[in-house]
Symmetry: C2
């Protein structure tokens, strides 16, 4: 990758640099820079992809920010989903004192993170929709927007060169569960004022039409619950407070009580209740250790694990591995989610196990008890037509989604030359004369969180894990006499993940090959490095010939 | 698993044992047994799942057949897809002389497999739809059925206890590309005659309605090609001859020539042409090394890799790693497939790379240029209503699909108690009095093909690979003086996949921990095994404390 020779920022130029979330789903982070000032929108994490063996989390590479530490004025949070805030614990320690701005619920949910990670050096400041804060030359004003978590906001950023609108994650829900509409009027005002650049959520740019209202999920819950006399278990995302509200509402209509099970969901529910984002009649919530007192026909269990996560509530209940709930015949399970790409197999397996345990299961292909939190094509066009931006950068999505979103923008009249389909790290610069161009490309890859370390595990370690995973390892310890160069005793072999039992002939052949490596040392006998290389090459080749497998071969030579 | 204490087969009892393909997608195999005779329907393979590290293929466990080798009369092949015939090379060598029955095209496609794997001990015998063959007490008569490969057949098996109908993979296509209809009349006759048991394909039992005709794909091809002046690249399955026929037909309508690229697709195309299953005007096919002579606007390239397979045609073209074709701006790519669950990420990445290389891409979410080869719910009900079976076993599909298919059967009137939702290895026994019951459960797990070995790699090897993949390995070689028990020289450390660079403090701490293990040997100094265990435990614990990772720790003690 060609990177980070810092060209410096020319005077009067506004630079936008996506450090995450574009060309990928997750670890969202956008940098906006002018003169000596930078604001950062969101700091998310990404869950590791299949081939990132053993990695716990992926966070954005903030080399660019680190090199400009003195410029960073604020982190502005659009909403408290992990792909927008999960990187904070790994990023903030490098920016002590820099404030984090967020809305009420986001601050509530962030509170725990801050406690857990001891991030007390960064003030967490309230910023509600339509409130403004001055940050160097920028005025930041969030606007309310619909999403699968209450209090989600987009961001209007007034800069010396014009207005930047960043949607965050959004959909337009005309009948939101909490009654709080997206701020169409404010968006229209921006359009009237003139928007220099729109950055807009592309997650569902491939989906035609409109994303249905969250309220339709409540209707599906009621359809399913009508007439049931067994328990109902609803699995969904822990942060989707509106969804949990609808579980309470639907349950109430059938005189059912609700218990919430799953660490993150219990925590979020508590915070949402405290802050007034979740309401239910006194006595409807029942604690999980008292559900045995509630008749099956009067209980709804809300839990986590709708993505098939093996350690979450639903999978454990399906596998009879849960402390409070075991699936029993007569149970009805609603998986209120669609599998995120990559999770299909895990979700399928969990559903299979629920059926095997005797439950009736409603899931994405059978009964839609889920809607997306992201805007479909008609909503994306509405966003474009309300804000009428001069320049457009599709964000939040895989490359193909950015391409589709770019097409929509062109369809509604954005000048095709003013649409930037870019990848993470590609900066866009806005010039005082009103023009814009691709600027330098900066470091914006993956930083891996693995165990206690951040950034220490890199591509080499992953490549080794991949190789070890593929054909295992074959280690040989050879003892040689320092004086004569002769083999002393029998070599010792340790092998794992290669074959179940090393067959004696294979072993003899390997020994033979090694003995030959040692007997023909040429004039290199004194060089252990060369001897090792000979053993490694000879042995690798031999094992491949005999098994068509390529375990990692490690020769160790002990001189005595 | 409780298995294979063979209860023996009672006289007059008919037994059906699925050894693969139910509760999973792939490695289809059904055993039908009566008295001293067995016929086997299909012998497929399965591609490894995500957590089967390094495994090349999965084939059925045929322990049950091996124990009854003398009974096996025939393998009956429904069609030549890998999940129905790919296991033959690994299974047939155990059953020399047992004939394989298949239709014309299946025999053509199997020919190569037989040559490659030298399976000349098993006669490959023609069996066309409506022809019958007597196999001990069984009369087998295949019937024509629609699917995503020509010449697909289901199987009517007349047994002493009644008629068994096995659908194979199927859909009802009223306008098939080759004009050969599913044999509705024969199926209706079975229904009139009386069907003891139906085994039917459940792959799409979750999909409401009808699966569209293959012919609709040709229409989509034409819609896309109309008015294009660049190259068109169509990626699809190598065995879908009807799809390839439609590429030729649509290309012909726009005066385009066609080249076929990809080893398996080239091979299949050649066989299909030879046998008369693929037709095009003389001169329309152009060899891949001559495509530079054809103007872009007059060329269609048919290729493999529609599932995003990194080594297949499409991914290599996207990555500029293909000998004959590099994607260039102006190219139009049609991905004529839907991602098989588990492949979504790979497919997505390939599409992203095609866009990045400048192509316009039509894929499953944008323009449906693909239809399934499997029956949706209305077709499944039609199959049930035509055959009117007394007993029903849904096959070919994940457990949840079997459950849905079972519900459809109950809806159309099959007695709920006569519907068997079972897993691989669960036998069903039919008694002379017309009743049926669950019989013994037999071995029917996975046999892994890994490199040259079949069945040698088992769960232990996979568990080791998984552990190695997760946190890597940490090997320590300690030399001790045989007499004194003292450490000689410095221990040697080899580590891979654990941390990028072993930090000196970590190393010192590890050494310290090891030294302590050795200094406090108690009275076990002479026991190397115990010493190793001490080193391993101490070191594992130390590394976990310091890094929160658990590499596999291998202690080697060399005595001198």
């Amino acid at each position: 990758m060609s990177v980070a020779r810092d060209a410096g920022l020319q005077e009067g130029v506004l630079r936008i640099v996506p450090l995450g979330g574009i060309g990928e789903i997750g670890k969202n982070m956008t940098v906006i820079e002018y003169g000596d000032d930078i604001v950062v929108v969101d700091a998310g994490l990404m869950f590791p992809e299949e081939e990132m063996f053993g990695i716990d989390l992926v966070v954005p590479d903030v080399t660019y920010l680190r090199q400009r530490r003195h410029k960073v004025r604020a982190f502005l949070i659009t909403h408290a989903h992990e792909d927008h805030v999960g990187g904070l614990p790994y990023v903030l320690p490098e920016f002590p004192g820099v404030p984090v701005y967020a809305s009420t619920l986001a601050r509530g949910l962030l509170g725990n993170k801050i406690k857990e990670h001891k991030l007390h050096d960064n003030p967490l400041i309230a910023l509600e929709p339509r409130q403004s804060v001055q940050l160097g030359p920028f005025t930041a004003t969030p606007f309310r927007i619909g999403h699968s978590i209450p209090d989600a906001m987009g961001l209007a950023l007034r800069t010396p060169l014009g207005l930047i609108v960043h949607t965050g994650d959004f959909k337009f829900d005309h009948t939101p569960v909490d009654g709080k509409l997206s701020d169409f009027h404010e968006l229209a005002r921006y359009g009237a004022e003139g928007v220099l650049c729109l950055l807009s959520d592309s997650t569902r740019a491939e989906s035609p039409g409109y994303t249905p209202s969250e309220r339709t999920v409540g209707e599906a819950f009621r359809d399913i619950m009508a007439g049931l006399d067994g328990r109902v278990i609803v699995a969904t995302f822990a942060s989707n407070i509106a969804r949990i509200q609808q579980v309470f509402d639907a349950a109430g209509d059938f005189r059912r009580r609700v218990t919430v099970i799953g660490r993150s969901m219990e925590q979020n529910t508590r915070i949402a209740v405290d802050l007034g984002y979740l309401r239910y009649p006194a006595g409807q919530l029942v604690s999980k250790d008292r559900i045995r007192d509630v008749p099956d026909g009067e209980l709804v269990i809300a839990t986590t694990g709708a993505q098939g996560e093996p350690m979450a509530g639903l999978a454990r209940m399906a596998n009879r591995d849960h402390r409070f709930v075991e699936i029993q015949p007569g149970d009805t399970v609603i998986v209120s989610a669609s599998p995120i790409p990559g999770n299909e197999e895990m979700v399928g397996r969990t559903i299979d196990n629920l059926f095997k345990a005797g439950a009736n299961v409603f899931y994405h292909t059978i009964k839609r008890a889920h809607v997306s939190g992201h805007a479909s094509q008609e909503e994306l066009k509405l966003m474009l037509n309300l804000t009428r931006p001069r320049y457009f950068i599709p964000i939040h999505g895989e490359f193909r989604m950015l391409v589709q979103h770019g097409r929509l923008a062109a369809e509604v009249g954005v000048e095709p030359g003013n649409i930037f389909i870019i990848e993470n790290g590609q900066s866009i610069e806005f010039l005082p004369d009103g023009s814009a161009r691709r600027g330098q490309r900066v470091e914006a890859g993956y930083v891996f969180v693995d165990g206690l370390s951040v950034g220490e595990v890199g591509d080499v370690v992953l490549r080794d894990r991949r190789e070890l995973a593929h054909d295992g390892m074959f280690l040989i310890v050879v003892t040689v006499d320092k004086q004569t160069g002769n083999l002393v005793g029998r070599p010792e072999i340790v092998t794992r993940g290669f074959v179940a039992e090393v067959d004696q002939r294979l072993l003899d052949g390997a020994m033979d090959r090694i003995a030959r490596s040692i007997e023909n040392p040429g004039d290199h006998i004194s060089e252990i490095g060369l001897l090792k290389a000979q053993i490694k090459d000879g042995l690798s080749q031999y094992l491949y010939e005999r098994t068509k497998r390529r375990p990692m071969v490690f020769p160790v030579v002990v001189e005595v």
